[in-house]
């Protein structure tokens, strides 16, 4: 009872990876266990200092360093909140709640990880955790790649770009087909059209797909019902066809949800 709390993390380092995309390592007080509890696919709620911005910003966990009690997040400047984060420097503090949500279920067999745009970061923690038989398909808009090299020690890396400047010209599914990748399980995070493509591909191939969803959140912990997605079955919590992205997700078995 009452074992979770808002934690004050210290920015250990922050760098810009690409235009408007930042990577930040957060260090937590040892006793708070934030990093040691985290699993790939979970997220943290990051809070702004500016008092006119009250709601949490959900950001996926990109890397987990349990020994050092650190978490890494990689985010894109999307508005004022992420802009505020981007001005932070080593030594600054930030309030967070987390880790939140359920994370990916790690499967045996051939794992194909699919990240589109700012959906790429959580795939890094996942690639590291899955360890073997990992292929990662990364979809970018253009040749402004980020994180790509960091995947290389852990996975075979396949690239798709919208403009064809690197890898397959087209989307991640185009790349999977082009490379004739075989998969037992797909793990995906990215924009909705991509997730729809992944779900359809998994159905076509009759394989498991775990997809990580995004929705606007208020509480981030399952209490407000702000962040629901439509589920196929009546959900055991809500007893209607709704699941909470923050609490029941953000990772769902693609068969269970309507995209």
């Amino acid at each position: 009872m009452a074992d979770k709390m808002k934690s004050t993390a210290t920015v250990d380092s922050q760098v810009m990876l690409s235009d408007g995309i930042y990577s930040m390592w957060l260090k937590f007080p040892k006793e708070q266990d934030v990093a040691s509890k985290a699993v790939p696919g979970q997220f943290i709620s990051m809070y702004c200092k500016e008092g006119s911005r009250l709601l949490p910003r959900p950001i996926s966990i990109c890397e987990i360093n349990k020994e050092e009690s650190m978490l890494r997040v990689v985010y894109r400047i999307a508005g004022q909140g992420t802009k505020e984060f981007s001005t932070m420097q080593a030594g600054d503090t930030i309030e967070i709640v987390g880790p939140l949500g359920n994370g990916f279920a790690l499967k045996e067999g051939k794992n194909v990880l699919i990240g589109g745009g700012i959906g790429i970061p959580p795939m890094l923690a996942l690639a590291k955790a899955l360890k073997k038989d990992v292929t990662v398909v990364l979809g970018y808009r253009d040749s402004n790649l980020f994180l790509k090299e960091e995947f290389e020690p852990y996975a075979k890396v396949v690239i798709a770009t919208d403009d064809g400047s690197v890898g397959t010209k087209g989307n991640v599914i185009d790349a999977i087909r082009e490379e004739e990748l075989e998969a037992d399980t797909l793990y995906a995070c990215g924009p909705m059209p991509m997730l729809r493509g992944v779900k359809a591909y998994a159905e076509e191939k009759d394989i498991l797909a775990q997809v990580s969803l995004e929705e606007k959140m208020a509480c981030g912990i399952g209490a407000c019902l702000g962040c629901v997605c439509q589920s196929k079955e009546k959900d055991s919590h809500s007893h209607v066809n709704n699941k909470r992205v923050c609490k029941d997700g953000p990772v769902f078995d693609a068969r269970e949800i309507i995209l």
Partner: protein, 300 residues
């Protein structure tokens, strides 16, 4: 130092509860705060049958506040009675069940069903701006307020709090109508109807177009209405709207509220409820206030 209050005949260990819809039925927040510390837990609105709620996006941020258009998604009274009441009964805190409906019949059905349950108070939401039928429609017409109040009172076994809408010309008229109808207490404010447009997408920020505004931004409107309502009726007032700190809570109490609810603040500070209680204690200590009741309505 005494923080306890009598609210509509129910003894509360302190005057702090949660604002309906921001705290679920307490299960999620129980991981952050000890529910035993709260005067009461007020649950998310529950109807006679499950409600799907509105499409997403259901929430968005505004300057110093937020909009929501959840649309009263709820699992219905049966699941609630089976799952949420037993959960809350584990704790030493009072239970205020918030009730919603589309028709008077819906409300009465839930209230009758709850008369068999061991809960302490009923809060009747006649002020939700996010559902098409029912909700706010009742809360903006004094005749309807009085009528639905008396119909509910006829069946209710627990004291009834009528939750009023701030989207009215004169809150005192609505407060008096609730009292006339036999309400044991009133609570206010529910959310102010608002809208946000995303100029880059040229679209509404919420799927429902409008939503209910809450959070610190609305506090001055809420304090004003609590003050006006508390001076218009003799039944006790449960005040809310933008309370984030003990200072905020005390403002409502000095304006005339006997109890206060913490809502949106839970989203930016999951321990807001207990932080407010501790802060009230600290204020009383510092200012030599022996009993919180000395402060209720002390600013005239």
């Amino acid at each position: 130092m005494n923080l306890s209050v009598d609210f509509a005949g129910v003894e509360m260990k302190n005057p702090v509860t949660t604002a309906s819809g921001t705290f679920g039925s307490g299960a999620e927040f129980a991981e952050f705060v000890d529910l035993n510390e709260l005067g009461a837990v007020t649950t998310k609105g529950v109807a006679n049958v499950p409600w799907e709620g509105n499409p997403t996006p259901r929430v968005c941020e505004t300057y110093g506040g937020m909009l929501n258009a959840i649309g009263l998604q709820n699992p219905g009274i049966d699941v609630f009675a089976k799952r949420d009441i037993p959960f809350l009964k584990q704790y030493d805190t009072k239970i205020i069940v918030n009730v919603c409906g589309r028709t008077t019949k819906d409300y009465v059905e839930v209230v009758e069903r709850l008369s068999q349950e061991d809960v302490d108070l009923l809060e009747i939401n006649i002020s939700c701006p996010n559902v098409k039928a029912g909700g706010i429609a009742f809360g903006q017409d004094p005749k309807q307020v009085e009528k639905i109040t008396s119909e509910i009172k006829a069946k209710a076994k627990q004291p009834v709090i009528m939750k009023l809408s701030p989207n009215v010309t004169d809150i005192t008229v609505m407060a008096k109508a609730a009292q006339e109808g036999g309400a044991d207490a009133i609570s206010l404010i529910n959310t102010l109807t608002g809208m946000k447009i995303d100029i880059n997408r040229r679209a509404f920020a919420l799927a429902n177009k409008t939503g209910g505004m809450s959070g610190p931004a609305v506090k001055p409107v809420a304090v004003r209405m609590v003050y006006q309502a508390a001076h218009a009726v003799t039944i006790p007032v449960l005040g809310m709207g933008g309370i984030a700190t003990a200072e905020d809570a005390l403002e409502f109490i000095m304006a005339g509220a006997t109890m206060v609810s913490i809502g949106t603040a839970n989203f930016h500070n999951p321990t807001a409820t207990v932080d407010v209680i501790r802060g009230m204690e600290a204020f009383m200590q510092k200012n030599g206030v022996k009993d919180i009741k000395e402060l209720i309505g002390c600013v005239e």
